[in-house]
């Protein structure tokens, strides 16, 4: 993302709305400027700000006049008065920033918007997590911190070394050059994104082991991690297997998403072949 200096009037509204804090008023040119290193191409500024199309010269003149008499116009805070944002054509590898940061862009690997994962949201038709299994979503970077791929790499290596299976239909897995070792493509390691999710699945007996491993590796990872644990309920809708493990480990379970099991496979049979996780499957 870039901001057109000919249009920008340095109102500063955009500096507050950038989730990464990557926009600032450059004191030399007196225009809003994007720190390209920190910008994750989430398009929150471009998509979220309402656009006016005022004449920049008129707005600048008015702002100077107001400043002279120490008056300040109190405009709406979610508006770019001159529609100054100018999206760029992104090339590889920078384009992965947008794929993992702008939730409106579906991931090519999964066709899903957001972080591109279905997890147990579609478990009633995908059968992704079966009874006796636990699916983990290990999410890096949110809220509001962001993450570099070289940080995610540390966790992926550790998980692969422990012999867990990475979910095949996952955008991060699709960027691995070697899924068996959890190695990500080298050319994306220097890219920063808003957030990404590693998805794995293990037998329920390994639940505590995986969480302990994540807790150990996260000490070396310079971002926040949001951990999600998905599992199947029994025929009565009860879940008395994984929750006790988590509570025993000290987690207070506050919130969950619950798949209520109303999904049915409705596509023609030839389109519904089962997807398997990839990587080693200890």
């Amino acid at each position: 993302m870039r901001i057109d200096p000919d249009k920008c009037v340095a109102c500063g509204n955009c500096t507050y709305v950038c989730p990464m804090g990557a926009i600032y008023i450059d004191p030399v040119i007196k225009r809003a400027t994007v720190d390209r290193n920190e910008c994750v191409e989430c398009y929150a500024c471009f998509n979220g700000l309402s656009q006016e199309h005022l004449n920049p010269t008129v707005v600048r003149t008015l702002r100077k006049l107001f400043q002279l008499v120490r008056l300040r116009f109190d405009p709406e805070p979610d508006v770019c008065p001159t529609a100054a944002f100018a999206p760029e054509d992104l090339e590889w590898p920078r384009v992965v920033r947008r794929a993992f940061s702008d939730p409106r862009v579906p991931h090519e690997s999964t066709g899903v918007q957001g972080r591109g994962t279905e997890e147990v949201k579609t478990n009633d038709v995908s059968g992704r997590v079966q009874k006796g299994e636990v699916g983990f979503t290990i999410e890096f970077g949110r809220p509001g911190v962001g993450v570099w791929f070289h940080e995610i790499q540390k966790m992926a290596w550790a998980l692969a070394k422990a012999g867990v299976a990475f979910e095949k239909k996952n955008p991060v897995t699709s960027l691995m050059s070697d899924v068996s070792t959890g190695t990500l493509r080298e050319d994306i390691l220097g890219e920063k994104i808003l957030s990404a999710i590693l998805e794995i699945k293990v037998p329920v007996e390994r639940t505590e082991e995986v969480i302990r491993l994540v807790q150990e590796v996260e000490k070396q990872v310079d971002t926040v991690i949001a951990l999600g644990v998905g599992t199947r309920c029994d025929q009565d809708g009860e879940e008395n297997v994984v929750a006790p493990i988590l509570e025993r480990m000290g987690y207070k379970l506050e919130r969950a998403k619950t798949n209520v099991g109303l999904g049915r496979i409705t596509n023609p049979a030839e389109e519904t072949k089962k997807e398997e996780p990839v990587g080693s499957t200890r």
Binding site: A44, S50, Q51, E76, Q113, R142, V229, K257
Partner: protein, 225 residues
């Protein structure tokens, strides 16, 4: 969606936060799903949702691409549910957000009766979702627990800012904007209702809960947690 899983707060704080969403699975039940997704949203209207949304076009409050300058004094803050329903044009996740448990329960009952074949999830406190399922006579199929935030949590803001920002799990509502809105409400520069609409317009899939956000802002006016 993981987007709604990691909302910050304890279970009690979700008493006014029920996100019911429908998602077609690629290759399983996505063919011909657009009319069903529209029907899902349409069925939510009688139960007075506080937001509707789809993951591509956004929620019931959207930014304007051509805002009139007079809007600075007279801004339309009315959620446009019809635009959300009419805008669904491709298989995607759609969501209805409620601030009342009974409304969410009744909606889930209606969805069950409609038998759309879409995957349907409830995102709220664990007990809240169980109650919805119980009321609708549906045994839960799967559950995804949030274990909260770990790692470099010292980089996170205070709890009220976190409660506001994590209602857009895609991270589109910045920490700076949420802090600014709390300050503006405290200063009396904007009402909580106005401040909520500014934040909600950044949520790109319409799962932001304006009702809960208003309560958090009103709470923050008096004290910072």
């Amino acid at each position: 969606m993981t987007n709604t899983l990691h909302r910050f707060g304890d279970a009690e704080s979700f008493y006014d936060d029920y996100v019911v969403f429908a998602i077609p699975s690629r290759g399983k039940n996505d063919k011909g799903s657009v009319p069903k997704l529209k029907q899902f949203l349409e069925m939510a209207l009688p139960f007075k949702p506080v937001n509707l949304g789809d993951a591509i076009h956004g929620g019931a409050l959207r930014p304007s691409q051509n805002m009139h300058p007079t809007a600075h004094w007279k801004r339309d803050m009315t959620p446009d549910f019809r635009a959300v329903i009419d805008g669904v044009d491709t298989p995607t996740t759609v969501a209805a957000v409620f601030d009342d448990r009974v409304a969410a329960e009744d909606f889930v009952k209606t969805v069950r009766a409609a038998d759309l074949g879409l995957c349907v999830n409830i995102s709220t406190s664990i007990d809240g979702a169980e109650q919805c399922c119980h009321a609708a006579g549906i045994p839960r199929h799967s559950v995804g627990y949030s274990l909260g935030f770990q790692g470099k949590t010292e980089r996170l803001p205070n709890s009220q800012v976190l409660m506001l920002t994590t209602m857009c799990g895609h991270g589109m509502i910045s920490t700076s904007l949420a802090k600014k809105m709390i300050d503006w409400v405290k200063e009396g520069r904007r009402t909580p209702e106005q401040a909520v609409t500014y934040m909600a317009r950044f949520c790109s899939c319409g799962v932001y809960n304006p009702s809960r956000a208003k309560r958090i802002l009103e709470d923050a006016r008096h004290k910072i947690k």
